[in-house]
Amino acid sequence: MAKFTVSEFLKRLTERFWKKGYEWGLRGIRIFLALTFVMVLIATLAECRPDIRHYWQVVPDPGPQCRQGYAQLLTMGITDIITDVLLVAFPIPIIFRSAMPFKRKLSLTALFSMSIILIIVTGARMPLVIDRKGIQQFRTVFASSEIIAAAIVSNAIILGSFLRDRGIKKTKFKAPSTTDSMERRGSARRYTNQPCTSDEDLARSLGYRTKPELTEKTSTLPRPAPVANLNLLSSNRQDGLFGNNNWQFPQQELGMFHSNSDKLSAADIRDPMPSPRAGRRVSWVDAGGLLDNAAVAPSPTDSVIAHDFAPQPRRNSRASNTLLPNGRAYPPPARRSSRLSQQSEDYEMSVRPSHQLQDPGGLLSEEREKEEDEHSPTSPPSRPSSGTTRHQRRQSAPTHRVPPQNSRDVPSLQDPGGLLSAHAAAPVHRTSTQTSHDVPSLKDAGGLLSSMSQSPATTSPRSA
């Protein structure tokens, strides 16, 4: 194996100036190495001919053939020497044919010729062991010496290149390949997109935008931009860990805009704001800017752009989905996102504004739903389509969300139960969360859920 390593190194070396003869020589060396192994195996196992059990027969002396293992010793020694000679002799003509200064040639030859040490050790080993009647200890000592010599020799070239701070790294640094740059860019993009927890980010990265009404509405609201951006970043980063209750500041911010924002506790809101801002963040990263522009005036180019960046964001969608179940513990997001990506592929074929409207409304986020939930008391007639989607969500909500809520322990503050029940009955946010703190039993949570699922309107009004 050590010699295979050396041969592999030589192969990589000769790949740069490819010649048929070198390739054949290397292949021959490898074949010979494999053959060596087989030969040694045969010599080890077949030396004691009558019966293999004589190898470990002790009391009646099985004879020297079965005791001493000279065949293995000699076969291995001789083939070792041959392969070492081959491996030493192989790179030397390459070196001497190259146009390097003579001193360097010499040093390189010396480096490659370190296998001569191995040859010497092996050559000294055989007669010495035979002199000592093949005593095991002596053999072991020599074998260990050979092993360490082989390790040193086969790693000397690489370690030497490390020490001289040269080698393969230099070439890589000089000429960064296309794959390298692509990898880097992908990683960077993933890093920046990873903290996006909202499903709208997901859809946006897939090439979809939100409903124009929503984006227009929220973007026209007065908002201190830099503060909001920082806040979004920090809270997003924590969001994967701590769930929903660190949206304090956005909520205070919200108080400026919404008259009913006092209903919203920190645990309830999963920040209605991030969708436009997150979208802007995506645009800050990559071609989302193009998408933003396209959102103003949807055009055939829109589909092209979406198609361009579709394969990249699909990975992002997975990444953000890994974050999502921390916040709200229920399995469906993965499935939904796959559905989303499928449909997005469909939509990429035929991007139309109406579909774009429909898609984020029907398939996407709770944020949007929550947003609707907040918006709907203030201005219900403004978005008729959102009303329908909300109804759909509510119908599907119990089936999806009840099991994780039961499985999780209710009394925690970050429980998604509070969030979810808060969804179903928008005006009753605070009540539902408080009950979820107070009552630690699972049954009550289930009861809450069931009442919620039956009719969101009949949930107890804010009386706790």
Binding site: V40, P62, P64, K133, I135, Q137, N155
Partner: protein, 116 residues
């Protein structure tokens, strides 16, 4: 050069005590560990510099396995002994059994050594 009849020596070597084996054992372990350290240096250095391992490095990493396996076998062999001894006054069945095990391990060790 050497005639085969001359190689196979009829008289097996004398037995050695376990304490006499200790330096050998120590040396073997030292060599093995040093080899592993060298390989580890190579792999880690390559990984730090290139952030990926070439095929030769992977082969080198795989070769740690027979290295360690051989060392395990050799350890047993050196402790238990092999059948390559003078068995004239060897009567203890436990010792005989140990030497049988040791002889088997010798075979395994040789195979692993050939793999290396």
């Amino acid at each position: 050069m050497i005639l085969p009849r001359n190689i196979y020596n009829g008289t097996p070597p004398e037995r050695r005590s376990r304490s006499a084996n200790n330096p050998t054992l120590l040396y073997s372990w030292w060599c093995t560990i040093f080899s592993i350290v060298i390989i580890g240096f190579r792999l880690s250095g390559r990984y730090i510099r290139n952030e990926r391992l070439f095929r030769e490095d992977k082969i080198m990493a795989w070769s740690i396995i027979p290295l360690v396996a051989r060392m395990g076998c050799i350890h047993v062999v050196l402790i238990y002994g092999t059948n390559n001894v003078d068995v004239n006054d060897l009567t203890d069945p436990v010792k005989i059994h140990r030497r049988e095990i040791g002889s088997k391990c010798v075979l395994a060790a040789r195979v692993f050594y050939a793999m290396l």
